[in-house]
Symmetry: C2
Subunit: 232 residues, 2 copies
């Protein structure tokens, strides 16, 4: 029973995976807008309606690609951080920054799906949240550990954040327990600054403006670290 049922389920899982793989390849070459269920079906030798046995809609296919993308990016950052010496917090921060950027440059269309303009009809299901925070969780871990080790101390001049802003750090603070609000606000600023930089690069804003982007990015990551007060 289980064996026969697994036979059926196995081929189904295999085909589901194959559809997602082909779709990911098309996404990588054509971008999200060029992803076509019919093209995927053609490449699989199926008729287009057969795809709907495996993915109820194009949006659902996109959703699995998004989840896979979050996991791939998160894993890349996790692996990069795992290779660092744990108490070199600035080094870990820089390595994590470059890990995100390297992945984004290598997979621009997938990155755009994660951090670019949201796709029109798409609303993130709840089961994406665990995958979606994997990359930022690494940053949270690095900075949280740095703070508790005394290696993350906001440098003067320290403009006192208004209480309204501090109150907004509650959700972010769950990733970094014990870190006070003013430090969290600096981390958020560095976090958005980091991804903003990558967005500019991946989305072509640096065209004809900055060419050796890795060098400038590295310096920007160091400046953001300095803004947070992340010591060497």
């Amino acid at each position: 029973m289980t064996a026969s049922r697994t036979a059926r389920e196995r081929v189904r899982a295999e085909l589901t995976r194959e559809i997602a793989d082909i779709a990911r390849r098309q996404l990588a070459t054509e971008g999200a807008g060029g992803l076509s269920l019919r093209a995927v079906a053609r490449e699989m030798g199926m008729v287009s309606s057969a795809i709907y046995r495996y993915f109820p809609s194009r949006d659902d296919l996109l959703t699995t690609l998004i989840i896979d993308g979050y996991n791939a990016l998160g894993e890349a950052v996790e692996r990069a951080d795992a290779a660092c010496s744990p108490d070199d917090y600035l080094g870990r921060w820089l390595v994590a920054c470059h890990a995100v950027r390297d992945w984004a440059v290598a997979h621009p269309h997938e990155y755009a799906l994660l951090y670019g303009s949201p796709v029109p009809g798409y609303h993130a299901p709840q089961d994406t949240v665990s995958a979606r925070v994997r990359d930022v969780a690494v940053y949270g871990r690095i900075l949280s550990e740095a703070y508790h080790a005394g290696a993350l101390t906001p440098p003067p001049p320290a403009p006192a954040p208004p209480p309204a802003a501090v109150a907004e750090t509650a959700v972010i603070g769950e990733l970094m327990p014990g870190v006070p609000g003013d430090v969290l606000l600096r981390c958020v600023t560095a976090w958005t600054g980091l991804y903003g930089w990558i967005n500019f690069e991946v989305f072509g804003q640096f065209e004809n403006t900055i060419e050796d982007r890795r060098a400038v990015f590295d310096h920007s990551a160091r400046l953001l670290a300095g803004m947070m007060g992340l010591a060497q």
Copy 2:
């Protein structure tokens, strides 16, 4: 001759403008992907093929919307800066930051067209560059004036930028003549950080995370100003 010809040209210009207006309205409600030439034609009471008398393709229509968007954003920032007292550089910086954010929040889809994932087949024509730098030119002016007034001095600790990174600031430096490379790199970092923050907000990354976004944004803008060394 000129009169009759202008009569002809006038109605043509009028229709061209009306098409663009309807397209902009659809863009605002549906997003770039939902912009349909046929829908625009329907709303104008025309048949779809007639639109092609005025815009040779959907991409060309998008191009004019993009140029209009850059101009609208640039004008918003320019007007905001013009209302400031010229030697309050920190105030001008903050006002400009909020001007960009306010415009982006008010026109999310248009902003996504400018600073989000690039549209698939679209390549920016050369005539967009003058409009595209209007917003950043304001920042360049503010920070350049601040520097020459002695109000923009990078605070310690100042990590020395590698020469490779400094060399990349040449194009950016054209907007801010006389400003040295290390300061320019800080400005670029603040610039990307600012737009990264807005991207996160407009693209929904702060959903269920940060609610009072204006307050947090304001503080982030101040932190970025401090990173640059922009004095009160």
